[in-house]
């Protein structure tokens, strides 16, 4: 099977664009990624489009109405917070299979503001706040509290994740926010669902990101190997059965399974990874994923944030983009925005936030329900 390369990628600056449409936002990132590759829509053999909010409304085809209706096949993907990564992976799989050799993946989302999730609806009475909480901050508070239960992880340690990622975003002009948030400010912010304060919840923003993928022969033919980044692994899992999964989504098992598959496919281990963009939808999530991705031993996640090993300049910087916490989390775009971030570092083009000497990077997203996608990328 051929190797697959990212030969062009970009994202728009995340923000709030209520006056624009989903296809307009998707088209903007698509054109930026094509420009980055020096290609046009006429070079693309298929489009993989990730979007959740308008999942029934042919977003990919509507993106093509903005940038050129060439008649190529379009696959529209919806897979919770793994939506963008799923679209990217579908493009990767098609090239691996030898069906196409140059494809475009686009992730795009327009978000409302406020709480996501919540139980009940439909028949009967709403059960949110009656049978516990299904809001995302509460679901991920439970994730953190399980770590507290097992290892004594503290509110302060979780809060430090937000301090770090908000700091990172001050170096990323495409992040929604570029604002330092000292520990006292994070811990003193409005408590949403203990231990997640408002500054420990990801930001609902609008955004889009896109990537052009190519087979090795196409990348060479098009003269694009110079800035190409190799996709060394693409792994995806659905949630395996675990005992409390029916009432408490288990984001750990699904991530561990995907991580194992990704490291095996890439032929590398976590010790070889130079930077990671992982799914910090809430500050509590980042700590558990340190362990799920093998960045440290089980129970060491709290220590990892305390010692600064995951900060820019540390042993394995995590979420140098600012992460979902500060860059923002437009659900369908997030997975491809992660690919953009890692690719930019591996190309040595990340400016002030560049992870020096980065050779191998890992992206991770996990959507509730559940879907986990992990990609390992390598500098050419």
């Amino acid at each position: 099977m051929t190797e697959v390369y990212v030969v062009g990628t970009d994202m728009i600056k995340f923000g709030r664009f209520p006056d624009r449409t989903v296809p307009e936002l998707g088209a903007q990132a698509a054109l930026m990624a094509l420009d980055d590759a020096g290609l046009t829509i006429d070079d693309m053999q298929a489009l993989y489009c990730g979007n959740l909010g308008e999942a029934g409304a042919m977003v990919g085809q509507r993106v093509l109405r903005e940038i050129g209706q060439t008649g190529i096949p379009v696959v529209n993907c919806a897979n919770a917070c793994a939506t963008g990564a799923t679209a990217f992976r579908e493009g990767w799989a098609a090239i691996k299979a030898g069906i196409y050799d140059v494809v475009l993946a686009v992730g795009v989302e327009q978000m409302g503001r406020g709480l996501l999730g919540g139980g009940g609806g439909g028949a009967g009475i709403p059960t949110e706040g009656l049978l516990g909480s299904g809001t995302m901050p509460a679901v991920f508070a439970h994730v953190g509290m399980e770590h507290t239960r097992n290892y004594g992880t503290t509110f302060e340690q979780f809060a430090k994740v937000s301090v770090k990622n908000h700091h990172h975003s001050t170096l990323n002009p495409k992040a929604m926010y570029q604002i330092e948030t000292p520990l006292q400010e994070v811990m003193g912010a409005e408590m949403i669902s203990y231990p997640n304060t408002k500054l420990m919840c990801s930001v609902n923003v609008d955004g889009s990101a896109a990537a052009v993928l190519a087979s090795e022969s196409a990348a060479k033919r098009l003269g694009l190997m110079g800035r190409a980044v190799r996709v060394r692994a693409s792994a995806m899992t659905s949630d395996p059965y675990t005992p409390r999964n029916t009432v408490m989504p288990d984001f750990n098992a699904v991530t561990r399974m995907a991580a194992k598959a990704a490291y095996e496919m890439a032929g590398v281990g976590p010790e070889d990874v130079n930077l990671v963009e992982l799914h910090d939808c809430f500050a509590t999530a980042e700590i558990v994923h340190y362990e799920n991705l093998g960045l440290c031993a089980d129970g060491e996640g709290g220590r990892l944030i305390d010692t600064g090993e995951t900060a820019l300049g540390g042993r394995v910087p995590v979420n140098v983009s600012g992460g979902l916490l500060s860059k923002g989390h437009p659900l369908g775009a997030t997975g491809i925005a992660n690919i953009y971030e890692i690719t930019t570092h591996l190309r040595g083009e990340a400016g002030a936030r560049q992870v020096e000497g980065a050779r191998i990077g890992l992206t991770h997203v996990v959507g509730m329900g559940s879907a986990c996608a992990i990609h390992v990328l390598e500098k050419p």
Binding site: I125, G132, S133, M248
Partner: protein, 143 residues
Amino acid sequence: MSETQVAAKPLPVVGFLKIPESGDAYLEGYRCENCGEVFLADHPSCAACRKRGTLKAYRLSNKGKLYNFTVVHRNFPGVEVPFISAIVDLEGGGTLKGNLVDIVPSPEALKFDMPVDVVFRDAGRKDREGNSYLSYFFTPAKA
């Protein structure tokens, strides 16, 4: 147009809460006769061991231990806060999520593995037709 009928008795808040003609309300689980895992609904196959036709209904225990909690301070309009969202492992199998009540909604007041009881009370909410609902709650266990 016919008038909508309000049920004479409260309705169950979820399908696995059973209100028998006589006797106390209870929660119903399904246990796999092959591997022993417990579910809150019937399924054609066991999600854990994949065997078909092995799930059998049984009465869940009204006693358990607090596996996990969060104190929820921000929620949708109309939902009273703060409240404790609790995840409870029941004696003899099964895990439930629900509100832990009759205790201060503060992390300092809560301990992992503290024993709790499952109790049945009016949900405090009605549907559009005006029906009342019976819900389950967790309370600190009576000594």
